[in-house]
């Protein structure tokens, strides 16, 4: 998926360059043309992109619990892989090439949690049973980005934008709080039956930074490719207490660009 996303970005740039080559007309020799590229006449910019989050945000937890008069151990490993995100942003030109705006990124993926527990034996000390299982849960992230955008008009039809600013993340994650297992005499083995999980929502402030290349077919409508990093660390309640859980990351993709 990562390579496909990069390919998408490359193709977007290539497409924009080819279109530029076909539509450029030679200026009159003795009359230097006004540099359309250095002039930004539009005030409002809008983008809607489909992004792919490249990195994974795995995390784990290890906790102890009391059972059968002895401490047991519960290890959980959450595999939070990359996935598709939807991103929209709007900005307003406030000064020369500087615009300020706001963006919204929505990301969701399914998470697989590996559960590995050591459950104390009911009859004997130091003879725990190993219980392993999996839990399929969900992760969703909503990030609101406040952005300062620096617009660089490369040509009348091509606009490069770099941006950055704070991001406000809200993360919802299914967290395993306990598990159930079956056992029977002589209790030397125990078999995982199900995980008990709860959905937690936590928020944190992070940053976003990135760049965008847009090509406009018409004065107002175009396409663009973008690469951005937006991330934050939230604290989730897990059986051992709290865990630092990363959200966001490197996202690449592209989509519709509008300017007015």
């Amino acid at each position: 998926m990562k390579s496909r996303a990069l390919l998408f970005v490359i193709l977007t740039f290539a497409f924009c360059s080819a279109a530029e080559a076909q539509t450029t007309r030679l200026p009159p020799r003795n009359a230097p043309p006004p540099s359309r590229a250095s002039v930004i006449t539009e005030k409002v910019f809008f983008s809607a992109s489909l992004l792919f989050q490249v990195n994974s945000n795995d995390f784990d937890d290890s906790s102890t619990f009391r059972r059968n008069a002895e401490n047991g151990r519960l290890d959980t490993a959450y595999a939070v892989g990359g996935g598709t995100a939807f991103d929209v942003s709007g900005s307003y030109l406030v000064w020369k090439q500087l615009a300020v705006g706001v963006g919204l990124t929505l990301f969701s993926t399914s998470t697989t949690t590996e559960i590995n527990a050591q459950v104390p034996h009911p009859f004997f000390f130091n003879q725990p049973r190993t219980v392993t299982g999996e839990f399929d849960g969900d992760r969703s992230e909503t990030a609101v980005h406040i952005q300062a955008r620096w617009l660089i008009p490369v040509s009348p039809k091509m606009l490069v934008t770099v941006f950055g600013g704070p991001s406000f993340f809200s993360v919802e994650q299914d967290v395993v709080s306990d598990f159930e297992f079956s056992e029977s005499y002589p209790f030397d083995m125990a078999t995982f039956t199900r995980a008990i999980a709860n959905s937690q929502s936590e928020s944190a402030v992070g940053v976003n930074i990135g760049g965008d290349v847009a090509y406009f077919f018409t004065p107002n409508v175009g396409v663009g490719g973008t690469a951005q990093y937006s991330g934050a660390t939230v604290q989730m309640n897990v059986p051992s207490g709290t865990a630092d859980v990363k959200a966001g990351g490197l996202q690449v993709g592209g989509g519709l660009r509008l300017r007015f």
């Binding site: 059968n68 008069a69 009911p122 009859f123 004997f124 000390f125 005499y185 002589p186 209790f187």
Partner: protein, 549 residues
């Protein structure tokens, strides 16, 4: 009325030709058939006896070790009356006999009409001991005497103030013919010290804001009752008085501090686990018969003021009583010993008997035997009974404990964790399977005890078979015979445990003697591991080394 058993002539001929009889019992027909020729002959005989009613199948079990095997236990009957201890055990594979072990009477000449009435017999039983009560209804049996004669006898189980025994009285004269103690105890008075002091888990249940020693995790009822140092109530319970919920050992915060409650409850559970895991057996009768333990019959301090008989039974002793308890449920009792600094004449202090895992394994094994081969608790069958209890008690130790000579470690001593010598270098424990003579036990058949004490030396002569068990595992040279045994090694001890278990629970008839036990244990090893297996070889060598051929 005189009746000659069917095929008695053939049997007698077989008896003579196979030389399977015993010199003391000329009419006894004792056989161990494991070869094709012998099996053919004895199977015909047994089948004929079965058809004529001389043998009745009393129990049929599927062998958990070898699922294709079926083991039939048959009781000899004479004119409709059971002949006490006369049994045949036939092990078949798909209907084809693999081994047959038996001890029955070839010729009987007994008048089956009792002269004594049941009421008169009852009076005799009740006068046989102080404060006697009958735990079992009176039955007529044919009782075989040591000299080979047989008598029509009344049999019952009598409970007195400090004893429980099975008694036989002549149905003609009212004379007592025999009695066997039903308290299969962990040997006699001795001393030693201590409970191991390790942390154990107890499977209990909450009840009314407290916790009681009633195991709800293991399949059978497994409950430990605290007699709260009330000896008269203990005796009443053993005699059948009901046990109350309030009698169950309890602890307020589930952090148990009563040592005998912890040890008895945990160790009985462990022994059940051993039988289940090692042998696939579900408790005493393989049907999860309840496991009832009584503790704190008398305190250590209180033991000092007991009469000698009570001291021997309830203080420095543990026992299994198959018919004791409410409804004859069967009960284990574990004494608490006596306080320091007192020691016995060997310098040993005796403390909580339940603290020795092998003692608990020993007593529970008596219950296993009661529900299987039911070896008669006297003379050689009784010594085999005690020997097997020691073998399994030791095996339970090795199953759960680390081998070694320290406290709480697995070894071939019996009761060493509870009966501990206070003097440096002194002997702890009461018996040794490795070196029986260190406690005065015989390590060879030629020096067996032949007197009347101890029900014919059941706790004394037990060390002959149990030493064979030891040699089969560990190997070594017998002190008397000088014969060397190539044991299977500690890593393969399971083979020997399973062979002896199979022999002693499935294959032996109730009146088996040492040679029958030898033949059965060798056959069991062959059944499980092959005729030329290391286990079969080791067991064969071991019995030869201890002089049993």
């Amino acid at each position: 009325m005189k009746r000659v058993m069917a095929l008695a002539t053939v049997a007698a001929a077989l008896f003579l030709s196979l030389q399977v009889g015993s010199a003391q019992q000329p009419s006894s027909l004792r056989f161990s058939a494991t070869t094709a020729n012998d099996l053919r002959t004895w199977d015909q005989f047994v089948t004929a006896q079965e058809r004529s009613g001389g043998l009745r199948v009393m129990q049929v079990e599927q062998d958990p070790s070898i699922p294709s095997r079926t083991i039939e236990r048959m009781q000899q009957f004479y004119e409709g009356i059971p002949v006490w201890g006369a049994e045949v055990v036939r092990d078949s594979d798909g209907g084809v006999p693999v081994s047959i072990f038996g001890d029955i009477s070839a010729q009987l000449d007994v008048n089956t009409q009792p002269v004594l009435t049941v009421d008169a017999a009852t009076k005799v039983f009740l006068s046989s001991t102080a404060a006697a009560t009958l735990l079992r209804p009176i039955n007529l049996v044919v009782f075989r005497l040591e000299n080979g004669d047989a008598r029509l006898a009344y049999m019952s189980v009598v409970s007195g103030t400090n004893e429980v025994f099975r008694a036989f009285i002549d149905a003609a004269s009212g004379v007592e013919l025999q009695r066997y103690s039903m308290l299969q105890k962990q040997s006699a008075v001795g001393t030693g010290r201590g409970v191991v002091g390790d942390m154990k888990k107890m499977s209990v249940r909450p009840s009314g804001g407290t916790f009681v020693a009633d195991d709800r995790l293991r399949p059978p009822v497994l409950t430990t009752f605290d007699m709260r140092n009330n000896l008269s109530r203990t005796i009443n319970v053993l005699n059948g008085a009901p046990l109350l919920a309030s009698d169950i050992a309890s602890d307020a915060d589930n952090d148990w501090t009563d040592i005998p409650a912890v040890d008895a409850h945990a160790h009985v559970g462990w022994t059940y686990d051993y039988y289940f895991k090692r042998h696939g057996r579900r408790g005493l009768d393989n049907r999860d018969r309840p496991l009832i333990s009584l503790i704190n019959g008398v305190s250590q301090q209180g033991s000092l003021s007991l009469p000698p008989d009570d001291f021997g039974i309830f203080a420095v002793n543990a026992f299994w009583c198959d018919l004791c308890g409410p409804g004859g449920i069967g009960t284990m009792y574990f004494g608490n010993g006596f306080p320091l600094p007192f020691v016995d004449q060997l310098g040993r202090n005796w403390t909580y008997l339940a603290g020795s895992l092998d003692v608990v394994g020993h007593e529970l094994t008596h219950g296993v035997i009661s529900s299987s081969s039911n070896l008669i608790p006297g003379n050689e069958p009784g010594a085999l009974n005690e020997a097997f209890a020691d073998m399994m008690g030791t095996s339970v130790e090795f199953f759960f404990q680390v081998p070694g000579g320290g406290i709480g470690q697995a070894d071939y001593l019996i009761a060493e964790d509870s009966v501990r010598n206070r003097s440096t270098g002194g002997l702890s424990g009461i018996r040794s399977l490795a070196s029986p003579t260190i406690f005065g036990g015989p390590d060879h058949y030629s020096i067996r005890y032949t007197g009347p004490d101890d029900d014919g030396g059941v706790h004394i002569n037990s060390t002959i078979p149990s030493h064979a068990f030891f040699l089969s595992i560990e190997g070594g040279r017998n002190r008397v015979s000088g014969l060397t045994v190539q044991g299977v090694g500690a890593a393969n001890r399971e083979q020997i445990e399973k062979s002896f278990y199979r022999a002693f629970t499935f294959l032996l008839p109730a009146s088996a003697n040492f040679p029958t036990a030898r033949a059965a244990s060798i056959q069991a090893a062959r059944d499980l591991y092959g005729a030329n297996s290391a286990a079969a070889t080791a067991i064969t060598q071991a019995w030869a080394a201890v002089g049993v051929n």
